[in-house]
């Protein structure tokens, strides 16, 4: 038997499976945990531990529009915090929160690799650079129209 087989346990496919599930549903439904545990030969507690450890995974559905704002150093150096405060005020949301009507989720990011075009955000996964409060408002308004 090749070492690859004996050393590649079922658990190694857990993160890809979680990503696939979240891509499909937008979150990891609690009902799926038992099956995930079974498929990957780990306990349910372990699956929850993994979900809890990684910032990407969520157990609740996100808002229809997901806004992530980079709060790391390069973006801070060119007005990123002003942008962040503007978003908090405009959406009336705390970091990590989803609005009660399910419209928005606001999240902090710590560097999107777009530091030469700071401040950076992603809106529903699309990256934008050189974003000031006015541009953010315009981008959100475009979303509202669609």
């Amino acid at each position: 038997m090749s070492p690859e087989n004996s050393h590649t346990p079922a658990q190694a496919a857990l993160l890809p499976a979680l990503h696939a599930m979240q891509d499909r549903h937008g979150y990891i439904p609690t009902q799926a945990i038992a099956q995930l545990a079974k498929d990957h030969n780990v306990s349910r507690a372990e699956v929850l531990g993994v979900i809890g450890f990684y910032h990407d995974f969520r157990l609740e559905p996100p808002g229809r529009t997901r806004l992530r704002i980079c709060r790391a150093e390069s973006c801070q150096a060119v007005g990123g915090e002003r942008l962040a405060e503007h978003a908090v005020e405009r959406l009336g949301l705390d970091w990590g929160a989803t609005s009660t009507d399910g419209r928005y989720t606001l999240e902090a990011a710590y560097c999107l690799g777009n530091c030469a075009c700071s401040p950076a955000i992603t809106l529903d996964g699309t990256l934008y650079g050189r974003v000031d409060p006015e541009r953010l408002d315009a981008l959100l308004a475009e979303k509202d129209e669609t």
């Binding site: 090749s2 070492p3 690859e4 050393h7 590649t8 346990p9 658990q11 190694a12 496919a13 857990l14 993160l15 890809p16 979680l18 990503h19 990957h40 780990v42 531990g49 993994v50 450890f53 990684y54 910032h55 990407d56 995974f57 790391a72 150093e73 390069s74 801070q76 150096a77 060119v78 990011a109 710590y110 560097c111 999107l112 690799g113 777009n114 530091c115 030469a116 075009c117 700071s118 950076a120 996964g125 990256l127 934008y128 650079g129 050189r130």
Partner: protein
């Protein structure tokens, strides 16, 4: 008439400032004028303040225009840009732009130049020469070449790559792995992203060579989930490489094997730490492992594993093609070769600058960077990501080399340089560093997990009330000492660098009198 070739970058950062809209405007205008064009979606040249930067091939010379907005496009056609015509946005022949002309692009020689996914382009621009060379050499000789180059890990720690490979090579027979660390979590850095999006085959080639050197036939690229564009490019590049016989059971007809898998991270900064990364691929929480055992001996699935950064691995094809000595002829002291520095933050000309080690911060910040974007004086720069020290203006003549930086209590890290003007509040930046550590700690050791939270509280106290600041500063220094000494990995162990450097160089921001003022009072 031959169609004219235009280059409009497909790089994620360029997309983020409107490349798609520029492309659409170009196609619309071309159709209106009944012109046939070939558009290449190249990587970025790294002159980000000029992006979207569009290049036109004018009789074999690439002429640049930028930054182009969709509204500029009809005017550019009217000005005859397809023949290199004059226009306020015309930057001249790309290769003659001073920002690029001064650089020594070895690792980034093709980024922004070629079509990232065209293997024919890759070959005709020097690609695969290193691998072909490696296939003629015994493993020992490949390692010797990398050792001769003096290449050190570009992920942050600066560990000699040749020594790491030698250890894995010597670890006996059986399954071994090459793991590429593409987590690029450090703020202020984007060179890995640019390389993967702009020249993916270079990374693939580097990984295959690493496999030949240590006797590994399987590789993983651990890519952060924040880089969906890089994922898409790599995914297509790996498929094409397989199809062309570059990957698989018979590398370029040599009878040697190498398989490559992509693995997506899930938004944990600590998973950039190599052992946490391995845990993550194994499907676990990214808890940092105690060392020993070294990953080189017991790494992925318990097998001997090379973990190297993207830029480290992407340097290898050049080194094999041109020789280790040629690479080592660049740089200073024990910092050999070049580093793709990333200029970010409050700079007029942010971007990628690949130059030999030894350049000073001042040259990078003012020569390349053009000084602050705001027009205000620069006051602090953070070098080497969120765990890097803040360097004050008085030290801008520090040469960028691993040893000089270490001696100054700073680190070169992954080569990210973030500049701040004089509106920065360094007490807030210190608080941010502690907050970041608290958010991202894997939780395994107390000094990091609890210490960082305590650090946030102390700094909140200092920011709120001026009176007790002297005492609080002493407590903060003690806490930093505990984190420095008692942390398992550099997240807890280096967070004190930005905090203490802020405290040392900018005491006034913490409401403290500087020692100098105390003495002269």
């Amino acid at each position: 008439m031959m169609p004219i070739t235009l280059y409009i970058p497909g790089d994620a950062a360029v997309s983020s400032v409107g490349a798609a809209a520029v492309l659409a405007a170009v196609l619309t205008e071309a159709e209106r004028l009944d012109l046939s064009l070939t558009v290449v979606r190249n990587g970025s040249r790294g002159l980000y303040w000029l992006e979207p930067l569009v290049e036109i091939d004018v009789d074999g010379v690439r002429v640049a225009y930028g930054p182009v907005t969709p509204a500029d496009v009809p005017g550019l056609f009217a000005a005859g840009w397809l023949r290199g015509g004059a226009h306020p946005l015309r930057l001249g022949p790309t290769a003659e732009i001073p920002y690029l002309q001064g650089q020594t692009r070895l690792v980034f020689e093709r980024v922004g130049v070629t079509d990232p996914l065209a293997l024919a382009d890759y070959r005709s621009h020097g690609g695969l020469a290193g691998l072909k060379k490696a296939l003629t050499l015994p493993a020992e000789a490949i390692i010797a070449e990398v050792e001769a180059s003096g290449l050190r890990g570009r992920g942050g720690a600066g560990f000699p790559t040749g020594i790491k490979w030698r250890t894995v090579h010597a670890a006996g027979a059986g399954q071994k792995y090459i793991v590429c660390n593409a987590d690029e979590g450090d703020s202020g850095t984007f060179s890995d992203r640019m390389l993967m999006e702009g020249d993916p085959y270079c990374l693939i080639e580097g990984m295959i060579i690493a496999g030949l050197a240590v006797g590994a036939d399987t590789g993983y690229i651990y890519l952060r989930s924040e880089y969906p564009d890089a994922w898409a490019v790599l995914d297509r590049a790996v498929a094409a490489a397989r199809h062309e016989g570059l990957l698989g059971a018979d590398i370029l007809g040599s009878g040697r094997r190498f398989e490559l898998h992509l693995f997506k991270g899930a938004g944990a900064y600590v998973c950039g730490e190599e052992t946490s990364l391995l845990e993550s691929i194994e499907g676990k929480r990214g808890l940092v492992r105690a060392k020993p055992p070294l990953p080189a001996l017991q790494g992925l699935f318990g097998r001997p594993t090379v973990v190297n950064n993207v830029v480290t691995l992407a340097s290898v094809p050049w080194i094999l093609a041109h020789g280790g000595d040629a690479y080592a002829s660049h740089g200073v002291g024990r910092s050999k070769g070049t580093l793709p520095f990333q200029l970010a933050g409050n700079l007029k000309h942010p971007g990628l600058v690949e130059v030999p080690f030894g350049i000073t911060l001042r040259e990078l910040l003012y020569g390349y960077g053009g000084g602050s974007a705001s027009g205000r004086p620069l006051r602090a720069v953070q070098v080497g990501g969120p765990l890097g020290a803040y360097v004050p203006v008085e030290r801008f003549d520090l040469p960028l080399d691993y040893e000089a930086f270490a001696a100054a209590g700073a680190s070169v890290g992954h080569g990210g340089i973030v500049a701040f003007d004089d509106t920065v509040d360094m007490a807030r930046m210190a608080r941010y560093a502690m907050h970041f550590c608290a958010e991202e700690s894997c939780g395994k050791c107390t000094p990091c997990r609890i210490g960082s939270q305590r650090g946030v509280e102390l700094l909140d106290g200092m920011l709120a009330q001026r009176a007790e600041r002297g005492n609080t500063a002493a407590l903060l220094r003690d806490l930093c000492q505990t984190m420095l000494e008692g942390s398992l990995c550099a997240l807890g162990g280096m967070t004190p660098y930005p905090v203490l450097s802020a405290l040392d160089h900018y005491p006034e921001d913490f409401g403290l009198v500087s020692e100098y003022e105390e003495r002269t009072e």
